[in-house]
């Protein structure tokens, strides 16, 4: 399920500038006058609660008409900033718009908001066209679960639903890629370990830094087996040992499920007191024709914190969706029998 929220007009007018090295550098260089703080034991200190909110609504795959251009122009960013401000003003309007339309979908107020415009035109930053590589034939045969983008809301069993909808897991990429809400990532460090606690579905990734080998091939999990090390001030996390055919790489773990051969390499680089660059290289030789890279900023925001997400507690939608499907079947059967 691609949770794309169109929060601003998508502006391409005057978009003649290509992606530049300067633009790349701008995204990853450290803030002036800022020095990476260290923990008492000497590791780079990344601790805090970070969010990918600013890229809410940025598509995973770049629209083809933007070609190889990763960054918006200054003019486009100014327009997107104006759109964000207009949205913020609209959020504070106390009365319902006269043309508000009733729908079966969720109301607009459900979403959390970006605080500043995302500079990127897509979350995919490599290959240069900003699009995920082709799926391999074997990957195309894997069913996409209900609620993960299959567009067929008529499940026979709870097992037809995505692992996200079942409150089980969103997978590694799906737990950090920006979605409509719940994008919190709390990083806690101890000597020899980094832990990343993610708000939605409440994952806690415990990442050893001591160079130990990965678990054996029979040990597999939804979130894989991570190992971390430092390259300068960058935390590099390599994760393998995934269960295959569970979650995909779209937000919330949607899309075609990845395989048990997937290897993820993530890089967390703090670039300022409240800014961090996140990049992930996805290498899944049983799913994608080539490796690719996704990247976006994480920020710390005043007052932002992770809240409880006891997902199973009130997941009424699971019952409702299954009973709804059964009710539809009865209705169709009655109609076919002519009894209505």
């Amino acid at each position: 399920m691609r949770h794309v929220v169109v929060i601003c007009g998508f502006l391409v007018a005057g978009a003649a500038l290509g992606q530049t090295a300067a633009g790349q550098a701008k995204a990853s260089s450290a803030a002036k006058g800022w020095t990476q703080p260290k923990t008492p034991w000497g590791d780079p200190d990344l601790q805090g609660t970070w969010t990918s909110d600013d890229c809410i609504g940025t598509p995973l795959n770049r629209p083809a008409n933007l070609g190889d251009r990763l960054y918006y122009t200054e003019q486009e960013l100014a327009q997107r900033q104006a759109n964000l401000e207009r949205q913020q003003q609209n959020d504070l309007v106390e009365t319902v718009a006269p043309d508000a339309r009733v729908s079966t979908g969720p109301p607009g107020h459900w979403g959390e908001r970006a605080r500043r415009p995302c500079k990127q035109t897509s979350l995919v930053i490599d290959p240069p066209n900003g699009r995920t590589p082709d799926l391999l034939p074997e990957a195309k045969l894997r069913p996409v679960p209900e609620g993960a983008g299959n567009g067929n809301p008529k499940a026979d069993s709870w097992e037809d639903f995505s692992y996200y909808i079942r409150c089980i897991s969103r997978g590694v990429p799906g737990s950090i890629f920006p979605v409509i809400y719940g994008n919190g990532q709390q990083i806690v460090q101890g000597k020899g370990f980094v832990t990343i606690m993610q708000e939605m579905v409440h994952e806690a990734r415990v990442i050893p830094l001591d160079g130990r080998p990965h678990a054996g091939p029979n040990i597999r999990s939804y979130m894989g087996d991570p190992r971390g090390h430092w390259e300068g001030n960058t935390l590099v996390v390599e994760t393998t040992n995934f269960l295959g055919n569970r979650t995909g790489i779209v937000g919330n773990g949607g899309g075609t499920p990845t395989s048990d051969a997937m290897k993820l390499t993530e890089r967390f680089t703090r670039t300022g007191p409240n800014e961090m660059r996140y990049e992930i290289t996805i290498d899944d030789p049983k799913t994608y024709a080539s490796t690719f890279k996704v990247g976006f900023p994480l920020t710390q925001e005043p007052g932002y914190q992770n809240f409880e997400y006891a997902c199973h507690e009130g997941n009424y939608a699971m019952f409702d969706s299954l009973s709804g499907a059964r009710a539809q079947e009865k209705k169709a059967a009655a109609k076919a029998a002519g009894t209505k």
């Binding site: 508000a100 009733v102 969720p106 409702d320 969706s321």
Partner: protein
């Protein structure tokens, strides 16, 4: 307006393509052929994950009271957008417009919810506003 009004809207045909975002697929849960529009009195605001639910009592023309559940946003998102446990108290009257659950149960999606004076139930912004939630110290 103390009755359930069946809303026949010409927009129904457009609703099949409503985006399925949030924690579940709305098209699987709510029925575009069962529009609802009524006034109800809040009996409970259920702050529960993955989505909050507003419980209301609706009095029909015959005086019979039926209980309904109206789905709301994720509690965490509501908090970040300025909501608190006091934002919707028991006894408050609200107007609800939306669609009923496919299985015919008294549950709705609450596409538009207002107070009886027409003001929106959900007003606020998470952008630059941490709301009432206690904050963490930023390093």
């Amino acid at each position: 307006m103390r009755k359930i009004v069946v809303v026949l809207t010409a927009a129904i045909s457009l609703l099949g393509a409503a985006p399925a975002w949030g924690h579940h697929a709305f098209a699987a849960e709510f029925d575009a052929d069962k529009p609802i529009k009524f006034k109800g009195t809040v009996t409970k605001m259920e702050w529960i994950n993955p989505h909050a639910w507003i419980h209301i009592d609706v009095t029909g023309e015959d005086g019979k009271v039926t209980s309904w559940m109206i789905e709301a946003a994720a509690p965490n998102a509501l908090l970040r957008r300025g909501w608190t446990k006091n934002s919707l108290l028991k006894g408050t009257e609200i107007l609800v417009e939306g669609y009923q659950a496919k299985d015919g149960a008294n549950r709705g999606n609450g596409s538009i919810i207002t107070f009886t004076d027409g003001k929106k139930l959900f007003v606020g912004s998470s952008a630059g506003d941490p709301g009432a939630a206690p904050g963490t110290t930023i390093k």
